[in-house]
C-alpha cells in the first residue's frame, strides 16, 4: 500500500505527460493500423513511448523534494517499488492499446496475422528489458542532474532499440540464408524467451536500484 502511494505521487507529478502519452499512443496506433501499416508497426510505437515515459519521474524530481518524499513513512524499497510500478504503467498501457487495436481489427473483419501474438509478447519483453536499462541508468545518475542531461539519458534505451533493430536488419540483408521459417516455427517459445529475459532484467534492475537507493544520499 505504501509502495502504491509512491506510485501515486509519480502519477500526480507526471499527470500531464501521462495524458499526453495516452492520447498520442491511442491516436497513433489506430491511425497506423487504419493505414494498413501492420499491427506490429502500430503497436511498436506504443512500446517505444512506454520506454521513454518510464523515466519521466526522474526528470521531474529535484533534490530539494527529499524533505517531503523521503520523509513520508515508507521504506526505501517501497519507494523503489512505487517508481517501478510507474515504469510498468506505460508498458501495461501499451499492451492494453495493442489489444484494443487487435479487437478493432477483428471487429472490422480484417485478418489478424498468425504471428501477431508472438510479436506482441516479444515486444512486451523487449520493452521490459529497455525499461530495466532505463531504470538502472536513471537511478545511477541520481537526483539533481540538469533536466537536459536527464532528457538525454531518458531517450538512450529507446535509441538503443533502434540501433539494435538496424543492426539486425543489416545482418539479415547480408546473410541471405537467414532462416525465417525456423523463427516462424519456433515463434511461441522465442517470444516467451524474450519476455522471460525482459522480466528477468526487470527483477535485476529492481535489485540494483534498491542497492543504489540504500547507499546513496538523497536517493
Amino acid at each position: 500500500m505504501k509502495a502504491f502511494n509512491y506510485f501515486k505521487i509519480d502519477c500526480i507529478r507526471c499527470r500531464y505527460q501521462l495524458i499526453m502519452a495516452f492520447v498520442i499512443v491511442v491516436v497513433f496506433c489506430f491511425i497506423c493500423n487504419s493505414a494498413q501499416q501492420g499491427i506490429g508497426f502500430s503497436c511498436g510505437y506504443g512500446f517505444f513511448l512506454a520506454v521513454i515515459f518510464a523515466g519521466q519521474p526522474f526528470n521531474q524530481e529535484a533534490k530539494s523534494e527529499s524533505g517531503f518524499i523521503n520523509m513520508l513513512p515508507g521504506t526505501r524499497r517501497q519507494r523503489v517499488i512505487g517508481r517501478f510500478l510507474y515504469a510498468l504503467l506505460g508498458v501495461v498501457f501499451a499492451v492494453v492499446v495493442a489489444c484494443a487495436v487487435l479487437v478493432s481489427v477483428a471487429i472490422r473483419g480484417m485478418e489478424i496475422p498468425e504471428s501477431t501474438g508472438a510479436i506482441l509478447i516479444a515486444m512486451t519483453g523487449a520493452a521490459l528489458f529497455l525499461v530495466s536499462i532505463q531504470m538502472v541508468i536513471m537511478y545511477s545518475a541520481g537526483k539533481g542532474k540538469s533536466q537536459q542531461l536527464m532528457t538525454i539519458i531518458q531517450v538512450v534505451p529507446s535509441l538503443l532499440l533502434f540501433f539494435i533493430i538496424m543492426m539486425i536488419g543489416t545482418y539479415v540483408e547480408e546473410h541471405n540464408g537467414f532462416n525465417y521459417a525456423w523463427i516462424l516455427e519456433n515463434k511461441a517459445w522465442l517470444s516467451s524467451l524474450v519476455l522471460a529475459i525482459g522480466v528477468l532484467a526487470l527483477g535485476m534492475a529492481f535489485i540494483v536500484a534498491n542497492r543504489i537507493v540504500e547507499r546513496r544520499d538523497y536517493a
Partner: protein, 292 residues
C-alpha cells in the same frame, strides 16, 4: 529524563567536509537551538536525523528507536520544516492533502483544511507560485495536522515577516506544551532562539563546540570592555575572542574567572549572538566572523 532525540558519535564523511562525533541529547518537552555558521554542518546533521542522508558512523534515536529498527515509525514521529519548499513544484494543495491522507494514519484532514483556510493558502494554485511565507505555512500545516513527536526546523523562519515569525514561535511553544514533544530548531535568527530555546548546541567545522542549556550558557560568560592599558596579560589569556581596537578591548570571560574582574571594566551580560561571535573569533585566532 526521557530523551526524544539522541545522537551518539554521529559522523558523515564527504570529500571536502566531515561531520565528526556529534553527540547530542534532547529531552522530551524541550526546544534545542542548533546554531552555527553557513556550512558548519547544521543541515547535514538534520539530513542525517531525517535519514535523507546515511550516517558514516554513530547512532541516531528518535523517541527511543533507530531508523534501522523501524523505518516507518521512525519517520512518522518526525515533522520537518526545511529552509526551502520541499514540495514537488507541479503539485497543488489538493495533491499534498491526498498524499498525506494516504501516508499518515494520524493525518487530520479537518485540521489541515482549517489551517489552509486560516492562512488563506490558495487551493488551486501550483505550489511553485506560492510566496516564501505561503510555502512555510504549508509546511507547517502538513506537519502540525498529524501526530509527530519531534519537530525539526531547518532555518524555517528565515525570510519570514516579523508577524509570521512571531506566529511561528507561538506555534512552536504550543507544540511542546504537552511535555511529550520536542523541537530541534536550526536557525540564524538567534533572537528567536533566545525567546524559546532551552538548549543550545553550537557546531563549527563539523564539530560540536558548545552544548548546554541556554540559561547555563548565558550565566557562564560575561562580556567585558575596557581601556587598552587596563588589559592585563592574565586577563588577555583568559578572555575568549578578544578584539582590541584603538580605543580599547572587548571580549568574553568565563564566570569561572570572575576573580579577574574589577571596576575598571564595563561588564555586560552577553546574549547568545555575542557569545557565538566571540567563540568563533577565538577559534579562528581573533578574527571576527559574520553570519552565524
Amino acid at each position: 529524563m526521557e530523551m526524544m532525540l539522541e545522537l551518539q558519535g554521529v559522523g558523515k564523511q564527504y570529500k571536502e567536509f566531515a561531520l565528526q562525533d556529534v553527540t547530542v541529547s534532547l529531552p522530551k518537552g524541550y526546544i534545542m537551538g542548533y546554531i552555527g555558521r553557513n556550512g558548519a554542518g547544521k543541515t547535514t546533521t538534520i539530513n542525517l536525523i531525517n535519514r535523507i542522508c546515511n550516517p558514516s558512523e554513530g547512532t541516531i534515536r528518535v523517541n527511543g528507536i533507530t531508523y534501522e529498527e523501524d523505518p516507518i515509525r521512525y519517520k512518522e514521529q518526525i515533522g520537518f520544516i526545511g529552509d526551502e519548499s520541499y514540495f514537488p513544484k507541479e503539485m497543488r494543495i489538493k495533491d499534498i492533502r491526498s498524499i498525506l491522507k494516504h501516508s499518515y494514519q494520524s493525518f487530520d484532514e479537518k485540521e489541515f483544511n482549517q489551517m489552509i483556510k486560516n492562512w488563506k493558502l490558495p487551493e488551486k494554485q501550483k505550489i511553485e507560485k506560492f510566496s516564501r511565507g505561503m510555502k512555510v505555512k504549508l509546511m507547517f500545516a502538513c506537519t502540525l495536522c498529524r501526530e509527530t513527536k519531534l519537530l525539526i526546523l531547518d532555518e524555517a523562519t528565515n525570510g519570514l515577516d516579523p508577524v509570521m515569525r512571531e506566529e511561528v514561535l507561538e506555534l512552536l511553544q504550543d507544540y511542546i506544551a504537552s511535555g511529550e514533544r520536542s523541537i530541534l530548531f536550526s536557525t540564524h535568527m538567534l533572537n528567536d532562539l533566545e525567546q524559546i530555546a532551552d538548549y543550545i548546541v553550537f557546531i563549527e567545522d563539523g564539530k560540536i563546540i558548545l552544548n548546554d542549556t541556554k540559561d547555563d550558557i548565558l550565566e557562564s560568560y560575561v562580556k567585558i570592555k575596557g581601556k587598552k592599558e587596563d588589559l592585563s596579560q592574565v586577563l588577555r589569556e583568559r578572555m575568549i575572542g578578544i578584539s582590541t581596537k584603538d580605543y580599547g578591548f572587548e571580549g568574553l570571560l568565563s564566570t569561572e574567572n570572575a576573580d579577574l574582574l574589577s571596576k575598571k571594566y564595563v561588564i555586560e551580560k552577553p546574549n547568545i549572538d555575542q557569545i557565538m561571535v566571540h567563540m568563533l573569533r577565538e577559534k579562528k585566532g581573533g578574527h571576527a566572523y559574520e553570519g552565524i
